[in-house]
Amino acid sequence: MQSHAAGDSSKFLNLRSLSGLEGLRFSAKRRIEGAYSGRHIARKQGGAGEFADYREYSPGDDLRRLDWRILARTGKTFLKLHQDETNLACTMLIDSSGSMGFAGYQQKGDDSKLAWCQFFTTALSHLILTGRDHVGLAVSEQKECPYFPPSCLPQQRGLIHESIANMVPRGSTNLAHSLDSLFMQVRRRGVLMVLSDFLDADLDPMLSSLRKFRTRGWEVIAMHIVHPDELSLPKGRAFRFLGMEGELPVAAQVNELREAYEGRFERHQASVRTGLLSVGCDFHSILTSTHYMDVLKQFLIKRSG
């Protein structure tokens, strides 16, 4: 961590806290396709790397992999298979819509869902880069989707961290559009991590977009970010609720709506979970009341295991 300290000035990066997680590495659950050799199991089996298995020769196979010794002894043609190892390319897509700026009914600015994502992605990108894997960043905004392709160049850390630090919640959620835009820009398969509150009016377009990634062989990790205050309505009698994505305000007596709201939010959580799992995502529901370091630790333990 010290080696990168000189270039890290993000307020969301706490190197002292991350020092405890240096031993953990972010790993993909599936075989991946990297540009360089690394410590992650690659999708293809090549002539180098660790021996994996034998296979009968079939016409068209690379003759360089033929085991000549077996051929000499037995007269049969077998190929020696070796497992290639490659590096990991993780692209983090962060939802920066207005609803991600929700910091609870008490409106503590540094308690917003986006802030939590900023801390989390900063720390995770730092650890991935430390493991000499590639990290990319895409930001889901209302109309645009700025994209920083995965890289492990020295300047990538600063670029990613700066981009994360500069994110501001605004506009409405349009995750499907962002995913489609990202899909058109990515060149190589890797790991896509989506951090969002998934408060889209319609989840189906988003799920369709994610299905494209999955079809192409991407590993998709979906992190559903929920603020604890979102689980229920505030205590009190009447409120004038202000929308965070440009919606019209609405006045309501919350006592009559409380139970119905809680039921509605539970249904939303359930539908997000069901949808994402059906697409084949690795789904995580996260309450922002849980410290990002704890979440990161648990996440990495699962991943490295």
């Binding site: 609803s99 409120f239 609405v250």
Partner: protein, 698 residues
């Protein structure tokens, strides 16, 4: 609608808006806060908006209605149809006011008695009007009309009502209604007939109210002067149980009625001139109890006094004292008339003489041959027995018939045809006052009457009442003979046949004959073995007691006519005088008539309208010859009244137009019960509001 508190309606109109105003004023001021899930709230609010609006509208409506109802209830609207009878009619009207003057109208403590309310209610209908003629009838034991025809002298009619007081009588409702009908018969053409009945509507008196005697176009208003307090304990009867005989133990029965809801321990006292007797009894709630007081008297003659309840404070004090008058008689005189030999010891008359001697203590039994009976013998005897007298001459039967009419007892042994002939002669003289259940015939159908046995006995009636069913055991071995066959008569009462023989003929008949009583035993004792059986003496004893009971005291009710037969000793030629015995008894105004009755051969006193309650004696030559105690009718002690529903039930089917009111209401006052219904409706509305809230919550 004429509200008692109109200001409440104005306040109510203003207050109706209060729930709506409160709804908007107390609406909480919303705090603006951002929320990420506002789309969810849109959905939820969209779903509930129409439901909430409906709930708010319903609740506000119900609250407004509740306030309006409370305001109306406080305003006390009084709604009613116009009265059937207007106090001041503007058309030709003939009006009769019937005022209940019975004793129950005086019940109550303090100044608020039904009578006072009845007076004021009656006067309201007698205010002067050019087009009206009116009459007033005081309804007591008989109807008393102030004037014989309708009058427009309202002052005089009102004055009569003001001066009148309740009388110790009950009400003859039919007489009052009939009298009203007579007054309304000849009214001017086109005049409206109206009758106002003002009474407490005591159940005992008014339970059989019928308006049939009134013209069908009569408008009727029933004014009920009800009594709040109905608890009353009263002496309803006091009289000797049996004939009171000198130096014989006698029993005076006092019947006490308890018309309260609790059992009461009642002390009563009898003061008879200088003697005082007392007793106490537990009287059940809504029941009666009979107190027996034993007394013995050394001298014959009339005894008068009062039975009083000690320490009884109730709404009807007059019935706590009960006058009593009875005669202490000398030992009974029995006359056995026979033509059989007096010396012989196997004759019917001998058997009867012996049996009567054993039955009646100290009785003076005189056996006289039928051809030697003197006129004085018939008059002096308390009980006359005809046993084989042969056919009596007309002079004897006349005296005998008169004696029985006056209250003597007759035991006739129907042994032979001559007895049948005597019976026919007597029945002819008694006429309609004697209805024999059977007729004795001489048609024996060729059969000899012997070996007969008693087949059927009326064990629940005198004289066999005391024996009960054991009489059959006592008569099991009795074989009767002689007598005459019988045929049932149309006019006689079947129940008057006390016992029947195995051949279907009557064995013993008991029939009243004016004040006296006649028993006919259909057998020949000489030929029967009855006299050898142990049951003979007890049967004769019961028959003789029954026949001597004619002296039982009859209650004389105030207001009703009293007809009493004076003793034989009273001379028809000397004047009689009736006077009150003590100061407690109201003084005599009209002592009635004393007339000699040829049929009874005695002077009969007729007092057409008795007064009282009190003790009165009849004097001749300053010597008392008769006493009478006039009492309040027992029915007046039960102050149970007919309620409005009861009165309506009584008048159901009447063709007249009828209105029922309470004297507590003034004429122009309208029914003031709506406020209770309004309050009830308000409670219902509030309950409905709670239910609405619950329903919308679920």
């Amino acid at each position: 609608m004429n509200p008692l508190n109109p200001w409440a309606i104005a306040i109510g109109v203003l207050a109706i808006g209060i729930p709506t105003a409160l709804h908007f004023l107390t609406k909480p001021k919303p705090t603006a806060i951002p929320i990420s899930t506002i789309s969810f709230l849109y959905e939820l609010i969209q779903q509930r908006r129409s439901r909430s609006k409906l709930r708010d509208i319903l609740i506000l409506l119900l609250r407004s209605i509740a306030i309006a109802l409370i305001a109306l209830a406080i305003a006390r609207p009084r709604l009613s149809a116009p009265p059937i009878i207007s106090p001041n009619p503007d058309t030709k009207t003939a009006r009769v006011v019937i005022v209940d003057q019975s004793q129950s109208m005086a019940a109550g403590q303090g100044t608020s008695t039904p009578w006072e309310r009845a007076q004021s209610a009656s006067l309201r209908y007698l205010s002067y009007s050019d087009d009206m003629q009116a009459g007033v009838i005081f309804a007591g034991a008989k109807a008393r009309s102030v004037y014989e025809r309708l009058s427009n002298n309202f002052e005089s009619l009102s004055e009569a009502i003001k001066k009148a007081k309740p009388k110790p009588e009950n009400v003859n409702v039919a007489d009052a209604i009939e009298r009203a009908g007579q007054l309304l018969e000849n009214v001017p053409e086109g005049a409206t007939r109206e009758v106002v009945i003002v009474s407490d509507f005591q159940r005992n008196d008014w339970g059989a109210l019928s308006l049939e005697a009134l013209p069908t176009d009569t408008k009727i208003v029933v004014e009920q002067a009800s009594l709040n307090e109905k608890d009353n304990i009263a002496i309803v009867s006091a009289k000797p149980e049996n004939r009171v005989t000198v130096k014989q133990p006698g029993t005076i029965q006092v019947e006490i009625a308890n018309y309260t809801s609790q059992e009461r321990n009642v002390k009563c006292r009898i003061i008879l001139e200088k003697s005082t007797f007392s007793a106490q009894s537990l009287v059940p709630a809504q029941g009666t109890s009979v107190v027996n007081i034993n007394a013995s008297f050394d001298e014959p003659g009339w005894r008068t006094g009062y039975v009083t309840l000690d320490g009884n404070l109730d709404v009807q004090p007059l019935d706590d004292s009960f006058p009593i008058a009875f005669e202490v008689s000398s030992a009974p005189k029995v006359l056995i008339v026979t033509r059989q030999s007096i010396e012989k010891r196997d004759t019917s008359s001998y058997f009867l003489q012996q049996a009567l001697s054993a039955s009646l203590d100290q009785a003076n039994i005189n056996v006289v041959r039928s051809d030697k009976v003197l006129d004085t013998d018939w008059n002096d005897a308390d009980l006359i027995v005809l046993s084989h007298p042969g056919q009596l001459p007309k002079s004897h039967t006349e005296k005998l018939a008169a004696s029985i009419r006056r209250g003597r007892g007759l035991l006739l042994l129907m042994s032979e045809l001559a007895d049948g002939a005597n019976h026919v002669s007597l029945a002819e003289m008694w006429g309609q006052s004697y209805q024999s259940p059977v007729q004795w015939t001489n048609e024996s159908r060729g059969e000899t009457r012997r070996g007969l046995f008693v087949a059927k006995v009326q064990t629940r009636q005198l004289p066999f009442q005391v024996f009960g069913d054991s009489i059959y055991g006592g008569l099991a071995n009795v074989k009767l003979a002689g007598g005459l066959p019988t045929v049932a008569t149309r006019e006689g009462l079947k129940g008057a046949v006390a016992a029947e023989l195995s051949d279907g003929s009557a064995w013993l008949t008991v029939t009243d004959c004016e004040a006296g009583k006649v028993a006919v035993m259909n057998c020949d004792l000489q030929k029967s073995n009855l006299v050898q059986e142990g049951i003979f003496v007890p049967i004769i004893a019961e028959i003789s007691k029954m026949l001597l009971e004619r002296d039982r005291v009859e209650l004389s009710l105030c207001g009703l006519p009293i007809v009493r037969t004076m003793p034989i000793a009273a001379s028809a030629s000397e004047p009689f005088q009736v006077r009150a015995i003590d100061s407690l008894s109201p003084p005599i105004q009209d002592q009635g008539k004393f007339e000699f009755s040829t049929t009874k051969r005695s002077v009969v006193w007729t007092w057409p309208e008795s007064i009282g309650p009190g003790l009165y004696e009849v004097l001749q030559n300053d010597a008392p010859v008769f006493s009478v105690a006039t009492t309040v009718p027992a029915s007046e002690a039960d102050l149970t009244l007919l309620d409005e529903a009861g009165i309506k039930l009584q008048l159901e089917g009447s063709k007249q137009r009828i209105g029922i009111r309470n004297t507590k209401q003034s004429l122009d006052e309208q029914i003031d019960t709506w406020w209770t219904w309004l309050a009830l409706a308000c409670t219902g509305i509030m309950l409905l509001e709670v239910l609405t809230l619950l329903w919308f919550r679920t």
